[in-house]
Amino acid sequence: MTILALDWFLLIEKLILIAVIIFASLGVALYTTFAERKVAAILQDRPGPNRAGPFGLLQPLADGLKLITKEEIIPTHANKWLFILGPGLAMTAALMTCAVVPWGGTIDVMGHKVDLQIADINIGILYVFAVVSMGVYGVMIGGWASNNKFSLMAALRGASQAISYELAMGLSLIALLMITGSLSLRTIVEQQVGHVWNIVYQPVGFLIFFICALAECNRTPFDLPEAENELNFGYHQEYSSMKLGFYLFSEYINMFISSTIMATMFFGGYDLPFVTSHLTNPGTAAIVGIVVLMTKVVMFIFLFMWIRWTIPRFRYDQLMDLGWKKMIPLALANMLVTGFFILLKQNNWHF
C-alpha cells in the first residue's frame, strides 16, 4: 500500500475520520441549539419548540434554513475582508480543536489498527489551548470590522475576558499535568482507564477549569461579549445570514469541545469504570468508549445550559475581580499544593 512513499491507507483513514468528526460536530452543534431551547423551556415550565416535526425535532433544520435564506448584509463602513474573516476564523478555530480529542480506543479495519483520534500529537493540550485562544480573534476581528461602537466594546470585553481566564485555566491544568506527566490527551485518558479519574486528585483544579471554560465559551454568567441588554447584540450585531450562523454555531461547537476536553482530562474520557479495562474485543471497546464519552459530554453540555438558565450575568468589574483576584491565586495555590504532595509521594510519604 505504499506508493510514492505515502501510506495511502493512513491518508484515507484520516480523511474519513476528519469528515466524520467535522460533520458530527456540526450536527451536535445543530442539535445543541435545539437542546438549549428545550432545556431553557423546561427549566422555565414551558414546552419549548414543539412544532417542527415530532417533538420539534426538525427545529434546528428550520432554523438553519432560515439563516441561510436571510439576506446577506455587509455594512458600507465595515472592513469587508475582515468582516468576512471574523466568522470564518471563529468557526475554523472551533472545529480545529476536535483534531486531538481521543473519541475512543483503537479499532481494527481490514487488518489496520485505526485510532479513533485524528492526531495523537504529544502536545495535545497545548494545541487545544493554542487553537482555543485563536477563537477569540474571531470575536475581535468581527467586532472591529463591523465599525460599530457596540460591537467594538463587545470585542474588547471578549478579548480581555478570554485573556484573563485563559491564565487561570492554564494554571489549573499545570497542576493536572504534573500528576499525569504527559501532554498527550490519549495518554492522559489511558492513565485513567482502570484507575481513579483525575477529578479525585484535582477537584479544585476541575472547578477552576470548569469556570474558565464557561468564560472561554462566552456562556452565562460570562457572556459579556454578547450582553444583549447593554450592547444590543454584542460583537455579531452587524452580522446577518450564515455569517451570524457561523458565530452562533461556533459558540455551540466550542461548548461541545470544552465538554469533551473536560470529560477527557478529568472524567476519564471514554473510560467506563470497572468495564472498559475488562473489554477484550477492541471493536466493542471502541463503541462502548464513544457512547460513554458522548454521555459524559451531553451531561456537561446540560450543566452548561442549566447554569445559563440559572445565574445572571456578572458585571464587568466583578468578572475581572473574579478572574484576576480569585481564580489565578486559587489556581496557583492549587498548583503548589499538588506539587507538595507529588514530592511527598516521591519521598514515600516522609517529610
Binding site: 423546561i42 427549566l43 415550565d45 438558565w309
Partner: protein
Amino acid sequence: MQALTNRAKQVERAPMTFIEQLYLWNIVKGMAITFMHMFKKQPTIRYPEQKREFSPVFRGLHVLNRDEEGKERCTACGLCAVACPAEAITMEAAERLEGEENLYREEKYAAKYEINMLRCIFCGLCEEACPKDAIYLSETFTPADFNRKNFIYKKTDLLIPNPTTDAQGFAAAKGLN
C-alpha cells in the same frame, strides 16, 4: 418610624458570611431551584390542539342573526353604527320589495353591511345597541389573512346559515347543539 402596615420587613444588612462570599454555594442553591422546575406542571395550553375555555360573555367575531324561518333580523336602523366607538360598521339600507318577505323580517333591511375587523375593538356595544337582536359577538377569534381588504367583513361573511337550507349550520351557529 411607625410602619403603616404589618407587612414591612426589616432589611438585613449583616455582612456576608464566608460561604456566601464564596458565591458557589448560592449558585448551587439557585441551580437546585431551577432543577426542581423541571418537574413542575406546565401551565401552557398547546393552542391549536387545546383551547382555553371561554367565559360565557366572551366577545369574538360578529355574526348577523336570522330568525327561525331564516329571515334576516337586521332592519338597518344604524344604531349599532352609532354606538360603535371605533366606527367600524357601515351599512346601506334598502326597502323590502313585494315577494321578499321570506328574506327579511322587517320592511327595511341592510342591503350592504360591513364591519372592519381591523378597526373593531370587540367591545360589544353594537350587540347592546341592537333593538332587533340582529348582531351578536361569537366565540370565533384570531382570523388571519394576507390582505387587509379581506378583514372588512361583508354580509356574506357575517350572516349565519339559513335554517331552511342548512338547518345544521344554523343550529351550530346558534349554539343549540
